[in-house]
Amino acid sequence: MDGNPSKVNDDDIKDDWSTTVRFAGDSGDGMQLTGGRLTFEAAISGMGLATFPDYPAEIRAPAGTTFGVSSFQVRFGEGLIASSGDHADILVAMNPAALKVNIKEVIPGGLIIIDSSSFNDRGIKKAGYKENPLNNNSLAGLQLISTDISHLTIEAVKEFGLGNKDGLRCRNMWTLGLILWLFSKDTNETIDWLENKFGKENILTKANIAALNAGHGYPENTELSEDILRKVIPTVTPAPGKWRAITGAESLAFGLATGAKKSKLNLTLCSYPITPASPIMHYLAHYELEGISIFQAEDEIAACCSAIGVSYAGGLGVTSSSGPGISLKAEAIGLAISIELPLIIINSQRAGPSTGLPTRTEQSDLMQAIHGRHGEAPLVVLAPKSPSHCFEIAQKAIQIAIKYMTPVMILSDAYLTNASEPWLIPDISKIKESPVSFGENQENFMPFERNSSTLARQWIKPGTKGMEHRIGGLEKDSLTGNISYDPENHEKMTNLRRQKIERVQKDIDDIVITGPLKGDMLIIGWGSTNGPISEAQINLSKNSIKIAHIQLSCLWPLSEKLKNIVAQYTHIVVVEMNDGQLFNLLRAEIAPNAKSITQVSGKPFRVLDLLEKFKTINKLGK
């Protein structure tokens, strides 16, 4: 399929409050970094923003191929920026393959910036074009800046004596300079950043700054400025305080560390490398926080088992992985449920089954999270809805795991892990402390005696005098914990394990309804779909449709309140990136007439697609 310009003509997709820029090139072109810099420039202006890095599973796929294209999209603006944008206003394409893969997502009239040196016969052929797309009118209706960025970069850095290869590495900075000019930004912040990162005297710092300035000065020097409409990033004023950009992975790492600190526990993240979950382990390793450590296990099973060992010994065990790894951990998670110890399991979901699409997002592990173990093995399933929400959810997971002595699974996904948004750095001294009280010094101690309100057993650390006891995966007597094959005892223990999880509802009773409390339509989503659903809901609210939105953050146990809430709306629509897993779950008891909107493209929903589908459902009438 040849890359033709966007077929989208709907005015819906043009909003006047936001700008979306996509940087695309080979995996090694530095597009993620360039995108990150523009994100920061937008952020310091106080803009709302959302980013979406998209990269192939291969680390360095062959240069110039369509499957090696990596991209980074950033959307910023004054209004609600909950999603990273359906379409790009500006596309930077460092080679023909990058153009081919991304051109369909540029809005009509959008701007394309191209390194013309890569549009030679070889590059064009490698991308799978039959002819040069710059010459065949295929870019009609779009603005184009096509210039020999490679040559201009080499010229700019010539004085530093870099070889051709190192010189060309500065191409992304040249491009960033041009983009900064487009948004009427100076280069000072980026220069500071380069000097801090690589050292002021470093020859590479100097070369990168020279390339940056050359790109920034290019429009003035070439009178390009007369043809291209410059944009201004307006300054807006969000909540006062210190801000930073945060990805879901960083936010989870901070949330875990904060939750552990507030519980006065040491935390160990035991994991095995897997895409896209590894960044959580990398961040925690990198931070070297007091009382926080990581353990890189020999495999996924050992990662989960060692995390349980950590909790058994009185630390907080956490294991994080993605679909294939979670499958391997299932047996050990069952043991943690059976022996009733706290454990946090993070699943950064990716498209499956099997190896699937390792770098692409999906929400298809919901059923696995709720039911994916042998035996009756209930646990708590939470799902953060945005990068910053990951911070809250990680703490909530820790509180629940400790209070109820249970494993808690956090369902993140590939999008959330890597996506970023501005974050008001919280004052963690204001977060309430709730130190764990371990069991000790009791006469007639019974390891499986329970708290009557939470049904949780006590947490007893080995090393505690007089509390020596044995636990294991065999069924236990409901009080002594000794092996019991008694039929009635097994029934009782099964009920207790279920009831304990049901009681968690008390702690997660914060269903937020955005929009009218009764009306035409209630959209129910969960996890990372919050952004596009929110924007679609706001958009339709303006069209006098009485539409409301709930983004569930606790998927198990499901709130009993939901049943009454859904009764207030004509249409219940469940939106998720899978084949309808939450839909089926809700249809069973809570919303028998619900409708399902699903997508399994490996990419987040587009607001536009949701709008159309919501409108169609609304037309079905009352």
Binding site: K242, W243, T268, Y287, S293, E298, A332, I428, R470
Partner: protein, 335 residues
């Protein structure tokens, strides 16, 4: 359950829990359980700081019978649980109880990595060369020709040697014992417990139901003295009636051979002095063919190396960063 103050001197019986032992009558596990309790009493181990962690199998039921902390986990994974426990609380004295199926088959990966990392713990591998709890299938330690429900005409697979595997995994303490020689097993276990690092003790254990007498060729009273060599560090490798046999390295330097000191007393000059730090000899001792050579028992290999738990604790103690500071590190902006 003991909740009272401990008397100053603990006896082996003080380490027994109130649970009835459920192994088959005549099982070798009973003798090993007694040896473990005796060892703890000999070293006056504190029950509150002792944790027995096991996988799945007959041997893995042992923690239920101890008056210490006990954790009966899942098949093959005890070393992974033990690792989490030790990096969280290095003060605990952790014993991993496992079998040949548990450690050499389903848990093979964890077995090699716990040794590689040199976690400070004891690993007691009850080797009965069969799957007992699942009713007698051949295990990776079963000899070629072993007849079982899954190998009706005899096993066609070569067995795995736990000690050789442990040596190549980087183990720092390797020993062997037999359920019929408790007198020698207890001192071995005592040293294993004292060793700072992962101590593997492979214990040949008779399964009276599914693999009875598999070790008879060297455990039977009539042959034991000629077919077992009990190694002692710094002493010549002598065995047999009146210590009239010794082990020497052969002329190709490829294996050990038996020296007859009765016929030729001068052979004593070629008999090796056991050096527990010599890894090459440790391999040769582990590899001896049971049909022609004695079985090496006692401490085969022992060296000092940093442990995972001490390195881990040092690393964790070096972590001084404060969450708020790290959150504000990098690029921020103030509004």
């Amino acid at each position: 359950m003991s909740i009272n103050e401990k008397p100053s001197q603990l006896k082996p019986a003080d380490y027994a829990s109130d649970q009835e032992v459920r192994w088959c009558p005549g099982c070798g596990d009973y003798a090993i359980l007694n040896a473990v309790k005796k060892t703890l009493a000999d070293n006056q181990s504190d029950t509150k700081n002792t944790v027995f962690v096991s996988g799945i199998g007959c041997a893995s039921r042992l923690p239920y019978y101890m008056a210490t902390y006990g954790f009966h986990t899942i098949h093959g994974r005890a070393p992974a649980f033990a690792t989490g426990i030790k990096i969280t609380n290095p003060e605990l004295d952790v014993w991993i109880i496992t079998g040949d199926g548990d450690s050499l088959s389903i848990g093979g990966n964890h077995f090699i990595h716990v040794l590689r990392r040199n976690l400070n713990c004891q690993i007691l591998l009850f080797n009965n060369e069969i799957y007992g709890l699942t009713k007698g299938q051949a295990s990776p330690a079963s000899r070629i020709g072993t007849v079982s429900p899954t190998t009706l005409r005899g096993s066609i697979e070569a067995p795995l040697s736990a000690c050789e595997l442990a040596l190549s995994s980087g183990a720092t303490f390797i020993a062997r014992g037999v359920d019929t020689a408790i007198k020698q097993l207890v001192p071995t276990l005592r040293e294993a417990q004292k060793h700072i690092g992962a101590s593997l003790v492979e214990i040949y254990q008779n399964c009276i139901v599914y693999n009875d007498d598999v070790f008879k060729s060297f455990t039977d009273k009539s042959v034991a003295i000629e077919k077992q060599i009990h190694l002692e560090d710094g002493k010549p490798m002598l065995f047999g009636q009146d210590n009239l046999k010794g082990l020497a390295i052969n002329k190709n330097y490829s294996a050990l051979e038996i020296m007859d000191l009765d016929k030729n007393p001068n052979n004593i000059n070629r008999v090796l002095i056991h050096d527990t730090k010599n890894k090459t000899i440790a391999y040769l001792l582990s590899q001896m063919n049971q049909s022609t050579m004695p079985v090496a028992l006692g401490i085969i290999y022992c060296i000092e190396k940093p442990t995972l738990d001490s390195n881990y604790t040092a690393k964790l103690n070096s972590h001084k960063n404060n969450i708020s500071k790290i959150m504000e590190k990098g690029q921020t902006w103030t509004i």
